[in-house]
Assembly symmetry: C2
Homo-oligomer: 298 residues x 2
Amino acid sequence: MNKIVQCVPNFSEGIDLKKVEKIVDNFRGVEGVKLLDYSSDKDHNRTVVTIAGDPEAVKKAVIKAVETASKLIDLTKHEGQHPRMGATDVVPFIAIKNMSDEEMIKLAKEAGEAIGKLGIPVFLYEKTASAAHRENLADVRRGQFEGMAEKMKAKEWHADFGPKDAPHKTAGVTGVSYRAPLVAFNVNIDTDNLDIATAIGKKIRFLGGGLRYCKAMGVALEERKITQISMNLTDYTKTSVYSVVELIKIEARRYGVNVVGSELIGLIPMQALVDCAEYYLQIENFSIDQVLEYKIME
Amino acid sequence: MNKIVQCVPNFSEGIDLKKVEKIVDNFRGVEGVKLLDYSSDKDHNRTVVTIAGDPEAVKKAVIKAVETASKLIDLTKHEGQHPRMGATDVVPFIAIKNMSDEEMIKLAKEAGEAIGKLGIPVFLYEKTASAAHRENLADVRRGQFEGMAEKMKAKEWHADFGPKDAPHKTAGVTGVSYRAPLVAFNVNIDTDNLDIATAIGKKIRFLGGGLRYCKAMGVALEERKITQISMNLTDYTKTSVYSVVELIKIEARRYGVNVVGSELIGLIPMQALVDCAEYYLQIENFSIDQVLEYKIME
């Protein structure tokens, strides 16, 4: 059985594209690794890479890329809008095919250990976190690169791998995790009243008492004169895409507005769409192994 | 760009499994070819093989399998419930990824030509048919193996490749086509009255004035004390899976019955499910390239 993982490392360089290419080169022409996408943002001064493939091959390539980034990126000179704590800021691993939770946690920890051996402290977060207060990336990253030397002095913020109580002088620290794939999904409603989109967003999201793995906010689509509930679904296996759509419809009724469309941003795992088809078509006993293309991947 | 085709050759042997294995061996361990499934039916005395992969590799493997079948299967001694005209009865090619209609037609014709060179007459049918009266497989196969010698004397039933006016003495003739993938889909309704399932089936199917690429019939699920509209969708890109579900719901209302479930039999192309998710979630501007696993296949 073919095992496939995805990895979405984030590097703190989005301006000097020569450096970016050198980092990304670690994912090119590597047996068992597919470079699916990479994009750099100047304002964020950050590059997000998406790769997928054989777990061991992906892990090794990522470790090499982290090493390259640690040589090319000097965080003492880094400015950008996006919060960051390391030259390689985060290395999240995502299960795609035939990978158990145990295997994913093992893989992420092995990657973390190897990064630690490069002299870069590693924080395990999300499903690999070593304590509850280290699960949330925002908590781990709080203080950013500049605050890490102070933060890491406290025992509860000692690193999981590598130097325990002090960041790498130029490469900072790196977060490593195994997490569920993120689904970026927006639903459009036929009103230009942003208050309504905002109210619906607040009602359906976890923070407002809504669905557990749903982050949501209202956004104006000014050209189209409509508004949007813009969402991140942080675990579609538990908070389904169809659930948020149906819940938005229920809330929208209260205002006499309608769902007029939606959009999926970037890549989405096949299972997230299969779940929706299964729900609406009322399919019994369906397995993703019945999807021809999925079967071919084996 | 990775090109992928599927091929579902049907061989007229379902009892002597040693022969079946020898035929299927042509698809094992072949670079670029994936053997997805094969199943033999004793009553039909027939084996259906599903393979997928690189177009050239799939084509070559199928030609070899046709040759093996022509040596092992003697149709003068073949009995089975399923209509058949050749040792290799049909060789339908299906586009999976990055294959244009033109490329598919070329591929199917090349396979047909090579089979013809083995001394086996070939009829091109469906999207590769050389005339309108040769599109429908049932018309092409009418008369079966036993009637082919007589049928092929007429010019309108001369073969497209190979010996023009007489079948192979023991291997008969082979149909080769490029066709849309078949989706076998059944919808369950909460009544044990078969007349209702039959009436709904008749109303939604092409023959009864319903959807163009829908074949349907009523079936009793006796153990569950419900009935089912059992369907073959012969071109899901035009007659969508969600269309038949919604149309069945509309018809079911007239009888006060409800859809209580459905089932997809065998393999289904990802796009067929993506189409349903897009419809029900009202997704705008979605591309199958956004499906992670599809992207990985490139």
